[in-house]
Structures are given as C-alpha cells and as structure tokens.
C-alpha cells in the first residue's frame, strides 16, 4: 500500500507472463512469511535452551527439594536428566527432543511436559477462545458505535469505561469479582472449571456457569484494545473520500457504514486480534490462577513457583510458538482481506 503501485498496464500479449509471475511472487511471499516464522521459532527454541541454563541452581537439587535422598540417588537423577553430559550434547538432545515434540519431563509432575500441555490446553483454548470471541465482538461492536457517534455522550462513557477497565490489574479484578459475585451474592462458583460428579450433557451448563467470572475478567481487561483500534480505524475510514463517494451514490448511512466503512476498518483490527491472540493465551496465566482454571496459564504459574524448569521451558516455547503462529496467520490472512497487499 505504501509503495503505491506504479501504473502498470499489462500490454495484452504480456498478460500471461504477468500472471505466471504473480504466481511465483505469491509463492515467494508465503515462503518468506513461513520462513521468517520458522527462523523466529528456531530463535525461540535456541533462546529457551540457554535462557533456562543461565538460571542458577541445579535442577536436581530443585527436584529433590528437601527430601531425604541419598547422595547416590542425586547422582542417578543427574544422569537421568543428562546433566552430566556436555552442553553441546545436552543441546543436541534438547533440540532433537523439541523437534519430536518431546519437551522433557516435568520435575513436579513426573510426566512428559507434552502430556501435561495436552491435558491442559483445552481448558485454556476454551476460556481464551471464548474470551477473544466475546471481547472482539464486544470491542468491535462498541468501537463501531463509538466511531459512528463519536463525541457523543455514549461514546465518551464507552471509551471511559473501556479505558478504566483496561487499567485494572486483571488478577485484582478477578479477586473482587469473586468476593462480590461468588461469595457475596453466590451467583457463580468461586473457582474451578466444573463441579465434581456432573456428567454428560449437564457438564456444558456447568462449565459455562464456572466460566462466567473468569471470562468476564478476561474480557473486561482486553476488549478496550479492540474497541479503541476499531474506533480509531473506523474514524480514519470515515474521513476517506470513498465514504463521500458512497454517500453521494445515495446509500443510506447504515449501508455506508456496513458495506464500506466497517469492512475497511476491520482490516487492521483483524490482524490485531490475531496478533493479540498469542498474547491473550499468556495473559490467561493470571486469570486462570485466580480462578483455578485448569489450563496452561495455571500450569505455568505452578511451574513458576517451583520452579519446574522443563515445564516452564516447554510452555515458554509453546507460548512463543503461539504468538509466532498467530502472527503468521495474520500475515497470511491480511492479503486475503486486503487486495492491496496481495502479492
């Protein structure tokens, strides 16, 4: 977009070759994006190896943690974890492990980190996924309304509320919600994802019931971003000439908004949503911890407090990979949404 295309009028006989070339270009574009992501991913894998080796302390000591273990046992563990090998060897083992989705064995759970992640990923996906959908929908809707009536009382109240919520530490908000709505009014459970002993279809309303407070917390602190972005990009679009054109065509305001302004304004917002998604997963750490939501965030928190290095390291890679993946998706999606940046 920035390098506004020079007028390239394909001379008819050249049209075919142009199309071929655009195919190559498209491939190159996707290749570049994919390659970039892989490089980033590799960098993350590399970092995580060294990052978690500069942390002082001996994992075996961390693991045996005040247990009456004999000196032989400690050495056995050291061998088990490959800590007696050279750094290069350790790196190789680690690297090949990661490539096989083997992220090592958690100190505190005595299970492969991959398994743990497998167990916990769905609650997080459920919570974070729902929160992203809800906050995006809410944020976009309010953003559109705000921009269309910008400067009005409703808009100012809306923005004010959103910014205030955005300024709230999410864990603090969570605590207060628990006090008010769970223990005070008793409307919602204080924590957890489901009640014990609920089976079958009844689990759905049960989980939903449990999810309300964490969801509200997560949405409350996140939606402001979507709102602000949507609002400002829509305001940008509203000043555009093509909007005047659309109005000049005799379209009704609602149609102008729906058919012209919003789709254009959505472009930056959608990428933001995706880029954000990777981070929201991570932001769930706080909320999941407060609400004992059995997801990755809580797992991470529990790993932090030990610290359970393989677990934290594995989650580090996972969270980073999520961000990279979402960035990639955004990169790949953008051309689909915006013909101008189509390679």
């Amino acid at each position: 977009m920035a390098d506004s295309a020079l007028p390239t009028a394909p001379v008819p006989q050249l049209a075919q070759s142009v199309r071929d070339r655009s195919g190559v270009r498209r491939l190159r574009y996707y290749g570049e994006k994919l390659g970039g992501s892989l490089v980033s991913l590799f960098a993350v894998i590399l970092t995580s190896f060294f990052l978690f080796r500069i942390i002082p302390g001996d994992p075996v000591r961390t693991m045996t943690h005040g247990r009456p273990v004999s000196i032989e046992q400690q050495e056995q563990l050291r061998r088990d974890f490959g800590l007696d090998k050279s750094l290069a060897e350790q790196f190789w083992t680690y690297l090949t492990g990661v490539l096989r989705f083997d992220l090592g064995e958690s100190f505190q759970y005595n299970r492969p980190v991959t398994d743990l992640i497998g167990d916990r990923i769905w609650p997080t996906v459920l919570l974070v996924g729902t929160s992203v959908i809800v906050s995006a929908a809410l944020g976009l809707w309010l953003g559109v309304r705000g921009a269309w009536n910008h400067g009005s009382l409703g808009d100012r109240v809306n923005t004010g509320v959103a910014l205030t919520l955005w300024s709230v530490p999410s864990f603090w908000l969570g605590l207060i919600l628990i006090v008010i709505f769970a223990s005070g009014l008793g409307w919602f459970p204080t924590s957890g994802m489901e009640s014990t002993g609920v089976e079958g279809w009844e689990r759905i309303p049960d989980v939903a019931h449990h999810m309300v407070l964490p969801l509200v917390t997560l949405v409350a602190v996140v939606y402001a971003q979507y709102l602000m972005i949507m609002r400002s990009s829509l305001l940008d679009e509203m000043g555009s000439d093509y909007i005047v054109t659309a109005r000049a065509k005799g379209l009704r305001d609602v149609i102008v908004r729906r058919r012209h302004a919003v789709p254009n304004a959505l472009l930056p917002t959608v990428t933001l949503i995706f880029v954000n998604l990777g981070f929201v997963v991570f932001g769930a750490v706080l909320v999941e911890t407060i609400f004992s939501w059995p997801g990755l965030g809580q797992l991470f928190y529990s790993g932090l407090s030990v610290p359970d290095l393989p677990l934290v390291q594995g989650l580090f890679i996972l969270f980073s990979a999520a961000v990279i993946l979402m960035n990639l998706v955004a990169d790949l999606l953008y051309p689909v949404l915006d013909p101008r940046v189509r390679p």
């Binding site: 109005r247 000049a248 005799g250 058919r259 254009n264 915006d338």
Partner: protein, 335 residues
C-alpha cells in the same frame, strides 16, 4: 429552465479556531446540456461548493441559500428524496480516484452498487451494465473484477467516470478530475468526458484550478476567489478577455507556447492566497490587486455585467459605473 440553479449559497465550517466561511454567497445557473467550468486557486471553496450541491458536506458545515435542481430545493429536501437525487439525478467524479474508490471492493461491484440501488436492477443486470459502462469508457469489461489498486491512475479515473454515468444522471459534477494526472492521460480523460457528455446531453459542472483546461472543455467559465464567483461568462471571453484583475492574472498564468509575450516572462500574481478564516475587508482580492483603487478595501462588489460575450459578468469596482464609488460607505468617504 435551468437544470441547476444556485442562489446565494453560503457554506461555513465551524472549527475549533472559529468559523470558516468557505463559500460566501455564490449564485449561478446551469442549463441542461451545458458545460460550466469553475476555476479558482486552492482553498477558494470549489470542492466545498461541489459537495454542497448534494449536501455531502460534513456535519460541521452550515449551509444557507438555495440549490434548485430540476426545480426542487436540495437544501430543504427530505433525506429520502435527496438520496434518490444523489447519483440518479446528479453524480460526482472526484479528483483522487484512488481514494474515492473503495480499495477493497472490486470496481465492478462499486459501479453496480448505485445501479442496483436506484434502478432496482437485479444483481446480474447490474453487473452487465457495469461491464458495458467500462467498455464505454474504454476499459475491457473483464476489468470489472479488478481492484482499484490494480489499475493505473488514468484507468481509475475512467472507472470513476463510468460510475458517474451508471444511473444516467442529468448532471455530472467533476471536481478536478485530471489534476493529478499526467499531461497525456489528462488529455485522454478530458476527451473522454467531453465526448460522453456531448453524446448523452448531460450537463457538466467541471471544477479545476487550470483555467486553460476549462477554457478548452467548457461552454462557460466561472472564476472563484475567496468563496465568491468573481468572473463569469462564455469560456472564450473569460479566458481571453477577463475583466476582473484576478481573472486576468489567472488567464495570464497559463503561457501560450510560441507566444513571444510570455517567453522568458512568467506571469504571476504577487501575494498569497487568502485565508478564508481571515478575509480582508472590502474586496477580498484587493491586497493582491495590481490595479487596486483606494476604496477597494471598503467595497465588496457583486457580479456586474461586464466584458464581451453573452451574460459575461465580473465582480470588480472597475467594471461598475463610476468605479463603484457610490457603494463606498459614508465613513470611508470622509476619511
């Protein structure tokens, strides 16, 4: 009867820095099939006027006066009726086609949109008509699937023209349709507009800052300065023998190649264009006027028949009987 009759139109923008009178009492008429050119330097209110014609101005603009289109007053018309007049009655070609087209919609859909809206045509019919229109402006119909950015500036401007023609309007307002374009493409577009308008008997209001271009295209010319029309008349009369000093200066600014008079002698107008928010008293042009009279800062002349040609008028004290001295307020006289 005139197709478009604007009388005493004023537009004032309310801004944080105070009111900006962008258009200050403009009156003119445009007959069916006629081509009127509106010239003037940047900021004199041309676009504001163009947008005012279809009430497309932002909410911060206040309009007074009367705009009669086909006998109806557009300023008092209901929104529903106004929407019907928009595009079907009068359509607009804007200057920046890149920005006036929706970048993420295919051009075919954008052309078809007003067709479907105004003629209640079906999807397929509208598409077909869009294709025809594209052919009409010299683009292959299959380009309907293109996005604006895939077209060159000239092609985009053609798309705008095709779009303007979509609902067979009675009037097309072209606001600087060629300004950003290259000489050669400018010529292409102007030729195209001229031929289409002639062919379909559409009225044209063409806005430009290039008097020479307008003189070449239009039947009549109006020159605007600081929100007013200061000179109006048949094209040749205005371009060749303007009576208002600004009109003269503007005409002289376009050299005639081969004319030794302008060789190595660029003609300009000293001083700066006026700021509509702080207009000088009296005739707004007087600070830059080379033939200024003493009382020019006190008299704000209106259009007065002057010069050659039918209905030629100018707004200058010098065309008034007794140099407009009779209009000087008493206070000034004594001073």
């Amino acid at each position: 009867m005139a197709l478009l009759e604007v009388s005493d139109l004023t537009v004032t923008y309310r801004t944080a820095g105070g009111d900006v009178p962008a258009v200050r009492g403009v009156s003119f008429a445009l007959d069916a099939g006629q081509k009127l050119g509106l010239a003037g330097e940047s900021g004199c209110g041309k676009s504001t006027m163009a947008l005012a014609l279809l009430r497309l101005l932002p909410k911060t603009a206040r309009l007074t006066g009367e705009i009669r289109f086909d006998g109806e007053d557009l300023l008092t018309m209901s929104w529903g009726r106004l929407r019907a007049v928009r595009w079907a009655g009068a359509s607009i070609v804007f200057q920046g086609a890149m920005h006036s087209l929706n970048a993420v919609q295919r051009i075919g859909a954008q052309i078809a949109e007003p067709i479907r809206l105004h003629s209640r045509a079906g999807e397929a019919a509208a598409r077909k008509r869009a294709g025809e229109l594209l052919e009409h402006v010299g683009l292959p119909a299959r380009r309907a699937d293109a996005y604006p950015h895939e077209l060159s500036g000239g092609q985009r401007q053609r798309v705008m023209i095709a779009m303007a023609l979509a609902c067979d309007p009675k009037l097309i307002v072209a606001d600087e349709p060629t300004t950003a374009l290259d000489v050669m493409i400018q010529a292409q577009i102007l030729t195209l507009i001229e031929s289409l308008v002639a062919e379909q008997g559409i009225s044209l209001l063409m806005i430009s800052h290039d008097l020479s271009v307008l003189a070449d295209t239009c039947d009549r010319l109006a020159v605007m300065y600081a929100g007013r029309i200061v000179e109006e008349g048949p094209a040749a009369a205005v371009f060749g023998a303007a009576r208002h000093p600004y009109g003269q200066a503007l005409a002289a600014a376009f050299p005639r190649i081969g004319d030794p008079a302008s060789r190595r002698r660029p003609q300009g107008l000293a001083g700066d264009p006026p700021d509509p928010a702080e207009l000088p008293p009296g005739c707004a042009f007087h600070p830059r006027c080379a033939v200024r009279l003493d009382h020019c800062d006190a008299v704000d002349p209106s259009l007065w028949p002057a010069g050659s040609g039918e209905g030629a008028r100018a707004a200058c004290v010098r065309v008034l009987p007794d140099d407009g001295l009779s209009l000087v307020p008493a206070a000034k006289e004594s001073a």
